[in-house]
């Protein structure tokens, strides 16, 4: 059978397009449609109204939730960026042998060998009132009574996020840094650039793509988080997704759908903002 060559590319993308359509496109459209529906008691009623959105926007809780998540996103983004940058820089420019590079990279992925939940829960015995950190500090005589801010606080939430998401920064930054010819760094030194100037004038501009992609990963993961914030804050903080889950539990599907659409828009806007700063397409084609 002879297939016209103009059709071949479409056949090649068909499987992925189909999967995306069925498991992403249709559900998304459904959510958007349902977000305009009405609900009476525990029944969803087809309609076209903006009540769900009005409800979300008029609730002070929504604003608080988004501000909290935004705060977490920014802090976690900054920390993962700094940690990711230094780790990748070390791996790319200081580890000479390929074997050691692979070894250290594997070490970075070790946390991923267990599930997210276990990795998170394991912070509790470390950070708790009678946990490892408090006992060590007290044993050393540095503090008289346990530090309470360590667990079930913003601090523990951020620790868990950083632990869970740093690798996404490391991988994307490593990828773009590894493509820098080390001679370029030497050329900068030869030109009289200080260590700091080499980083700001050469390395950072050349890893923009990695920074942008890693940032999108981290920011969207934090914004879309459901359980880390709940568990690590001991129920004190909540996330937008957790609020949705509550609504779903009460069978208020249209209301949850409206929240989902808003969250989606917020995340898409954040990603768009990042991509506005860095033209990833141009970088990837070059």
């Amino acid at each position: 059978m002879k297939v016209p060559s103009s059709v071949v590319p479409y056949i090649q993308v068909a499987p992925l397009a189909l999967v995306l359509l069925v498991f992403f496109g249709i559900p998304l459209v459904t959510v958007v449609v349902v977000s305009f529906f009405d609900y009476v008691n525990f029944q969803t009623v087809p309609a076209f109204m903006f009540y769900n959105y009005e409800e979300v926007f008029s609730s002070g809780l929504t604003v608080t939730l988004y501000l909290t998540m935004l705060k977490y996103s920014v802090i976690v983004w900054l920390i993962t960026l700094i940690v990711g940058f230094t780790v990748s820089y070390f791996l790319v420019f200081h580890v000479r042998s390929l074997l050691w590079k692979i070894f250290f990279f594997l070490v970075c992925t070790v946390p991923f060998w267990t599930s997210n939940i276990i990795r998170m829960i394991s912070w509790i015995p470390v950070l708790g009132r009678n946990g490892l950190v408090n006992q060590t500090l007290m044993g050393l005589g540095l503090i008289d009574e346990p530090l309470d801010f360590l667990l079930f606080s913003d601090f523990s939430v951020i620790v868990a996020y950083v632990h869970l998401f740093t690798l996404f920064m490391v991988v994307t930054l490593f990828n773009s840094m590894a493509r820098i010819d080390p001679a370029i760094l030497e050329a900068a030194v030869d030109a009289g650039a200080s260590r700091w100037q080499v980083i700001t004038q050469v390395v950072i501009p050349l890893t923009k793509t990695g920074i942008a992609l890693g940032s999108i990963f981290v920011v969207t993961l934090v914004m879309g988080d459901f359980f880390v914030v709940k568990i690590m804050s001991g129920g004190q903080s909540s996330s937008a997704v957790y609020a949705m889950w509550n609504e779903i539990a009460m069978l208020q599907y249209p209301s949850a759908a409206a929240s989902a659409v808003i969250l989606l828009l917020v995340v898409v806007l954040m990603a768009a903002a990042i991509l506005r700063v860095v033209d990833v397409r141009k970088e990837l084609s070059g």
């Binding site: 001679a183 030497e186 050329a187 030194v189 030869d190 030109a191 004038q201």
Partner: protein, 382 residues
């Protein structure tokens, strides 16, 4: 203007772990010299360059520029500038910003550094490309940008790491001339690393032949080509036939040698007094060889001194001369470059037995030193 940029290396040594990359090298490059470091890959020439530049620190010894030790100084404070083999242009910057980079990190104001960069681009005939990025340029153009970037800080010494190796043959010859011209124009010292014999001989005032982290010979280009010091240099530079034999007698300042093939050679003894039975080495330039076809190869040799007999296995026409490859009875190769007029007046063909001979005054004595490097790869086959 008194020229600056003299380089002195004193017992310079570099180890990488257990490997001795540079073995106590001492050398002087006078100011304003075009110096070529020549040797096969792995001979340490790039390491030597990087130690002058300050990108590698020596294990022992000293690097002095204009009499001042520069050990421990960062590259920019040595008065050197390096041009990297890959050019190492900043891919995210325009040509103008690439050239101005050195001024930028030194805190020169934007307007001033742009003006200077434009002038420098003009000097390498690249001002029309100021707003392009390196990826949009050809290899030769990239190289000129790299050159401009290195020269903008007025270095005393420009260090070039295999500057021509990434270019095609035509551009290589053109850029070779350009480099020499730039060096004349700027009047600074150039140190140029290459593994191409022709390149070194064509551009350099001072050719430094290296092997295994040591200098075998540092001399004017003509001296390195015409009077190599050792068998290694003769073979590596090429253009020479290297022979050896055992001393049977010494007469009138010349030793008479017999080789295992039954040939007899003479070689000037110079200041040395060789003892009978000692092995001596000599070279004869390929273009000093006379050749004649032997009508009857089985006829007894008439005892002609300074000659060999062999079979022609290949002739190659080179334009002004013909390269005749001759195999000696023991399989050794011997090459005669015969002027094309003389060759075609009396041609030989593959399979012919020939007598190749040379005048006694064309013989040059060599010190014996071999390299574990495969020198048969090297050599200008001229």
């Amino acid at each position: 203007m008194a020229q600056t940029g003299g380089i002195e290396l004193a017992n310079l040594t570099k180890r990488f772990g257990d490997t001795l990359a540079i073995d106590s090298v001492s050398m002087t490059v006078p100011p304003g010299t075009y110096c070529c470091l020549l040797g096969p890959s792995g001979c340490g020439k790039t390491t030597l360059l990087r130690m002058i530049a300050g990108h590698d620190e020596p294990t022992a010894g000293d690097v002095r520029i204009d009499g001042q030790s520069v050990l421990g100084l960062p590259p920019a404070e040595r008065g050197t500038a390096m041009m990297f083999q890959s050019y190492a242009l900043f891919p995210h910057l325009t040509c103008l910003d690439n050239v101005a980079f050195n001024l930028k990190v030194r805190g020169v104001a934007k307007a001033a550094r742009r003006k200077q960069a434009h002038e420098m681009l003009d000097r390498v005939q690249m001002d029309g490309f100021a707003d392009r990025v390196p990826a949009e340029l050809s290899g030769g153009q990239q190289q000129r940008i790299a050159l401009a970037r290195s020269l903008i800080t007025n270095p005393k010494v420009l260090l070039l790491d295999e500057p021509l190796s990434a270019l095609d043959e035509f551009l290589r010859l053109q850029m070779r001339g350009n480099l020499r011209q730039m060096q004349n124009e700027f009047g600074i010292t150039f140190v140029h690393v290459t593994h191409t014999q022709m390149e070194a001989i064509a551009v350099a005032d001072l050719v430094v032949v290296m092997d295994h982290g040591q200098i075998d010979q540092a001399d004017r280009a003509r001296a390195v080509y015409d009077t190599p010091r050792t068998t290694y240099v003769a073979r590596f530079i090429g253009g020479q036939n290297v022979l050896s034999g055992k001393v049977v007698a010494v007469e009138n300042g010349a030793a008479i040698l017999d080789d295992a093939r039954g040939n007899r050679f003479t070689v000037p003894t110079g200041d040395t007094a060789p003892g009978t039975g000692e092995t001596r080495y000599l070279s004869i330039r390929r273009d000093r060889i006379e050749m004649e076809k032997l009508a009857d190869p089985s006829a007894a040799r008439d005892g002609t001194v300074n000659s060999v007999v062999g079979k022609v296995w290949m002739t190659e026409y080179q334009g002004t001369w013909v390269k005749v490859n001759i195999t000696l009875p023991d399989g050794e190769e011997f090459v005669a470059n015969i002027d094309d007029g003389r060759f075609f007046a009396n041609p030989v063909h593959e399979g012919d037995m020939v007598l190749a001979r040379w005048p006694a005054e064309s013989v040059h004595p060599l010190e014996h030193r071999e390299s574990s490097f495969d020198t048969s790869r090297g050599g200008m086959h001229t």
